[in-house]
Amino acid sequence: MTKLTVLDVTLRDGSHSMRHAFTEQQVRDVARGLRKAKVKYFEVSHGDGLGGSSLQYGFSKVDELKLIEAAREECGDSAISVLILPGIGVKEDLKNAVKAGAKMARVATHVTEADVAGQHIYLSRELGLKTVGFLMMAHMASTSVIVEQAKLFERYGAEIIYVTDSAGAMLPHEVKERVAALKSHVSCEIGFHAHNNLSLAMANTIAAVEAGATYVDGSLRSLGAGSGNTQTEVMVAVFNRLGYETGIDLYSVIDVANEVVAPIMPRPQEITGSSLMMGYAGVYSSFLLFTQEAAKKYNVDEREILLELGKMKAVGGQEDLIAEIARKIANPTQTVN
């Protein structure tokens, strides 16, 4: 039976939906549940990765290092992953995360900018971490560009390379093509991270696995940016039926999803008009709540802001564009010096 590693990102991607306000108790409860379900890796960080606590993305309510430490105390045989985006987080953040208990680092860049990750990937290997290169907004680059960028990650020392559909914009055949191309051009294992903005997270994850991906991300009850991620507990059930070996206990993972995560969710991870538009226009999923706020403040249609962001080819991290675009839609004639 083919083995798959399911990596749960509830405590990182879910941080966007929680407006970066996870408490230590919530992290402990989720971590305990994931351990019980035998989830091998789960991620704990600010939604925008280590060092993401900021005015631009939202301050963390509790320091992420404290949350990582709390998760470590609960995680047993499960291991903690952290996300780091070069340009936001720095090497020092990664060293501190390792002291707090991280065993895996996922170094994330925009799909065309892998060469900013060299120093972080080297460091991650030096620190003995399982090391992942994470190519975000994968829908924005052709398959040949993704292959070329993945080769950079491979050269720096990444052991696993992810195709990351940050905007939830990819279709199954596109996922398949990209994963298959990576599989045949790099020696690393391949991973896939989905967002459910077009209701394709599970279908895309299956497509990735059928094309050779062996690492797949999910979040409990889909708690993640935009419409959330592939739903971890659903994925475990589906892969059981498809005959893959995840090593995860189905009942226990359903329990932590429903008894621990569901009660703390600020809103259901349904596909709203706005999250649908994110998938349709190819917009970074964590822009969702910022867009809703700006739309309300300036009394404009959320979809118009999202379409404009898509047109401008905004990349992950450019949250500062949102208020400005909303205000320009509201007052098209406003200018300054």
Partner: protein, 300 residues
Amino acid sequence: MAKLKVAILGSGNIGTDLMYKIERSDYLTMSVIVGIDPDSEGIQRAKARGYQTITNGIDGLVACPELFDIVFDATTAKAHSMHSERVLALGKKIIDLTPAAIGPFVVPCANLEKFATADNVNMVTCGGQATIPIVYAINQVADVDYAEIVATVASKSAGPGTRANIDEFTRTTANAIEDVGGANRGKAIIILNPADPPIMMRDTVHVLVNEGDKEQEIIKAIEDIVLAVQQYVPGYRMTSAPIFNGKQVSIFLEVEGAGDFFPTYSGNLDIMTAAAVQVGNEIAKQYHEIVRANEAEVSK
């Protein structure tokens, strides 16, 4: 008044762009450009414009001290400390455009006059040059507790050096936000955007001030400092009015370059070279004042 003679160390993009800007200076005169590759575009262009060229690096330069009074180092942080030692040993000055930061951080409009007599000054980073004037200006009228800058640059304007050392950018910029901008705490974020056609450099400054009732003073301070930066980077502007939200102020800027050697979207590179020339001008002014004062002393 004789202009100070300039040597540019490094014939890459930054060095070449500097050459054009120095040609327009009232206080500096372009003399020599130093590289290691005789075929580099910078060396070729300098030759065509009638300047001296040296292609065996710092060794060649220090062998010809008569050619220069002041050096602009546009090489790498690693090479800079050695370059600095050898230039200072000749009693000459050096302006550091690398992230080495041996000398004090200098941002025109904020602290230039204070350091114009230093032998080695550092130009921080492009994101620092674009945003620290704003932090500094706000801090003059309302105590800035925290300042965070987000610099978004076109992928094509971020060279291999910046990419391989992106942590140096964030760390150095954050330090200078505190040291020069005056914020109690600083943070910097850099984002590369590969859109084609390339985007203009964008900078957003978010600050938290300790007083919530200084809106008019803050707006005036920002507008004044934008005008001051426009004196050396005419394409520096706010893209929309600042947004106030309690004690938080957000300022949105874009930097269009002069298009000397870089395309105009590379405002990040342009503001570095333009600011460095400002610093060179100020050093030249102070130098002449000292010379004049000495002469007055002698004639007494």
